[in-house]
Amino acid sequence: MAGTFEAPEVVYEELDILLVGGGMACCGTAYEMMRWAEALKAETGKELKIKLVDKAAMDRSGAVAQGLSAINTYIGDKQDPADYARMVSNDLMGITRDDLAYDVGRNVDDSVHLFEEWGLPIWKTDAEGVRHDGAEAQKEGLPALKDGGQPVRSGKWQIMINGESYKWIVAEAAKKALGLDRIMERVFIVHLINDKNDPTRIAGAAGFSVRENKIYIYKAKAVMLAAGGCVNLFRPRSVGEGSGRAWYPVWNAGSTYAMAAEAGAEMTMMENRFVPARFKDGYGPVGAWFLLFKAKAANAYGEDYMTKNKEMLNDYPPYGQAAVPASCLRNHLMLKEMKEGRGPIYMDTVTALAKLREALSPKEVKHLEAEAWEDFLDMCIGQCGIWVGENIEPEKKMSELMPTEPYLLGSHSGCCGIWVSGPTDLGAPTAADEELAGVPEHLPRGWNWGYRSMTTIKGLFTAGDGVGASGHKFSSGSHAEGRLAAKGMVKYVLDNPDINPEFDETTEEIAEAIWKPVRNFLQHKDYTTAIDVNPNYITPKMLQFRLQKIMDEYVAGVATYYNTNDKMLEKAEEKLEMLKEDSQKMRAKDLHELLRAWENYHRILTAEAHMKHIQFREESRYPGFYYRTDKNFVDETNWHCFVNSIYDKKSKQWTCFKRKHVDLVDKSKLFKAAAH
């Protein structure tokens, strides 16, 4: 029976494994999992029922959708995974899981080598030190990375690519691995279902088609939840004039965090955020300019604020003494210039390109110019629009930089997310090790509880932006992390052949909850003559504005230069409670609005987690990303620990608690002697 808007069709399916998402992490999961599934079938005849469900289309879904001009995590044969774990820790002010970072570090290059084999053009350096773009390198016969080819490093961990079709290529391999019958696109999973007999076990997930009047309910033994980070929970700098423009993909609506929290999974470091300093208004990438073209940033009067304000780094020992200061501290030094009225901040592209020209031939200069434009055209076309619209040729005119609105993510330069089970061979704490007081009894002790990448909910796994306390995975690391999780998922399903999950809600209850914004609309739409003006419902767009205003003004958004305090957080807490109540009155006049309504519901829960964690952590761990002005210091004595939390979906309350931080690699190698 075909569904209608009034009476949607409910489709029910039973699976062994459900993958939610279609970005780099889920593509990695699918690629690795299907090979193990083939092996299982070959050895035992047993076939696993596997399905991937994506809100969009895999070819262009996830944060790599538009493309990338670099792979930001490639270890290479000269660096150690321990060096990588140290870098991750340093950039995130000391509070990360070394086991997770190290594990990504030792496995990530395998994925990068596959990408090249599948057709991703990777720049190479030849024996004379001359750079070749990815296609030219292949024509010249330069070896592949796996055969000793030398990439072009734009930084210690980054390599340059021609990456317009990066996601397309990675998706093609994942789709081939899965086969089209195991892929369901244009279905937005909005709700995880727990097991009736064991609330700490996953039983399935549910969502709806964004194209047809259909609700999908899946029963599954194991679920991979990898649906990205969270964008647009804060009021963005681009509002009416450029609404929808953001640095991270706007479709990342916090679904990963909200659904996991509602299912009861332990969250970690949800206070962490990323405030990228990017080219103003277009959010264009700065990595290549800083690292490849060696450009400097300066205030409006030409002063290099990283040099001028370097003493400020001494306020945050030992992190300020690292050879490369953390991203937040670089923002901290920039913000001083802005707050004291010496903006705009500029990237000095003119001097950088002039210096490079001195050493290059005209042909190389032409290539260099193309590289500068490709950096945007591969991954952030909107920035090109700004440059051409404002007649900015980087060799002639400098370009403004600006710290953006905050973003929540776990794979880029942020580390919020879900607490997961890690590898067992790296010396991580076990259940026998001491833990801090206050961790709820039902949660596991130690950093491993059986299956790599499983959350504290049995059978629920995550990867990429979903995994907390281990940032700087980026595209390649997210793919590798998905692959590691795939093995854990297959093992979990095989170890638990007798699991027969039962839903803790009826399918009718699930379907009605999903369709509630539509019901709100249909019930009340005739009460007024203007569709958007109605005392009985709120449009998703208006609700989003309300959320963004609360977060911006009280939870350290751009309006307050990233400042908040205990009193402002109290106000935010109260207003978010009311917003959560009112979210039940969101309307959906069509399927697109139903998508928006659910995205906003996920954003509210994510925002609430962020606020609660900032409130609980009585210090300012990330100066430059946010400041608690009532606790404006980094407190290593009391807060060198993880802040974790759980959410109770019945009482709708959060519980925050500390978890002990342990170093698995020596961090002292990062720091110069303290200046004071």
Binding site: E32, R35, W36, A39, A42, I75, D77, Q79, D80, P81, A82, Y102, G105, R106, N107, V108, D109, D110, H113, L114, W118, G119, L120, P121, D133, G134, A135, E136, Q138, L145, K146, D147, N162, E164, S165, W168, I169, E172, A173, A174, K176, W373, E374, L377, D378, I381, C384, V388, G389, N391, D425, L426, G427, A480, L484, K487, L494, L664, V665, D666
Partner: protein, 75 residues
């Protein structure tokens, strides 16, 4: 800004407010679209290896970085 995306490269024509025109051509992939043989030449893992560290292509993609054991200070 006008893209023209082909099978192996993308061409961009960008026009500035002042009329300046620039054209760029960048490679996008080195294999034919749809040609990826994702498991071609790759090992079939044994289920007994499911708990071994690393991914199933570890032995042949040259990407596993074992690391210096001395770096792991709690082991």
């Amino acid at each position: 800004m006008q893209p023209l995306r082909g099978s192996d490269s993308i061409m961009w024509t960008i026009k500035f407010r002042n009329g300046t025109l620039k054209r760029f051509k960048f490679p996008i992939r080195t294999t034919a679209e749809g040609s990826i043989d994702c498991y071609g030449g790759k090992p079939m893992p044994k289920m007994s290896e499911l708990t071994v560290d690393g991914v199933f292509t570890r032995s042949m993609m040259g990407g596993f970085r074992a690391g210096n054991p001395a770096e792991l200070i709690r082991k």
